[in-house]
Amino acid sequence: MARSSDVRRRELAAIFAGGMLGALARVGLAQGYPPAGGAWPWTTFAVNLAGAWLLGWAVTRLGPASYARPFVGIGVCGALTTFATLQLELLRMLDAGRWPLALAYAAASLAGGLGAVRLGIAAARRGRGRVAA
């Protein structure tokens, strides 16, 4: 069945609203805790891992039919986390010749992000189990 344009508009509105919140939180944190040159980018690292956890939770816990899922998953999590900034930070570490830091940051982001998604999924399953019981 074709989805009505009304449903589509509401979905886009939910994504837009979630994107506003995610971007405000990320940019607000980046301004409050500006990255120190040459140091570990804690702000990007923290928002990326937090967003990955929340996305794992959201896609497991929130039904695909509700607007909460695009709002949280595509809007908030997608906008809170960032791929481009991570890459620019890595490039600047390499510019400075800090290969070990770049390698550690890349590895920690990938392992941490994957681990965070898995923990979010597991948390949502446990939560759902409790509700069902």
């Binding site: 837009f16 994107g19 405000l24 990320r26």
Partner: protein, 122 residues
Amino acid sequence: MSGVLLWLGVALAGGAGAVARFLLSDFVAARSEGWFPSGTLAVNLSGTVVLGLLAGAALHGDALTLLGGGLIGSYTTFSTWMLDSERLAEHHSDRALAVNLAGSLLLGLAAVALGRALGGLL
């Protein structure tokens, strides 16, 4: 730019970035076959080239906060990249997981370096 206006701009840019990500990712995914999450990669690489351009053009201050932080930060995504990877590991293979992680990371690095070099020419 006053504080309130700047944050309003960040919010609007963030909302627009999220919607653009959803639309492009959907568009690419609907036209690609196979196991690879090409929609997410297309969004992330295109956004990363643009952030590199902004950095190469030495954009700074409110303009960088709006475009780099608000728009591109929101347009590109780390969380979906990780969720895609987790699903590849679960439904496909560890090799697919490794290709999506290492491939996206290396292509992203090339994208930001390319964007910065182009931005430096501006």
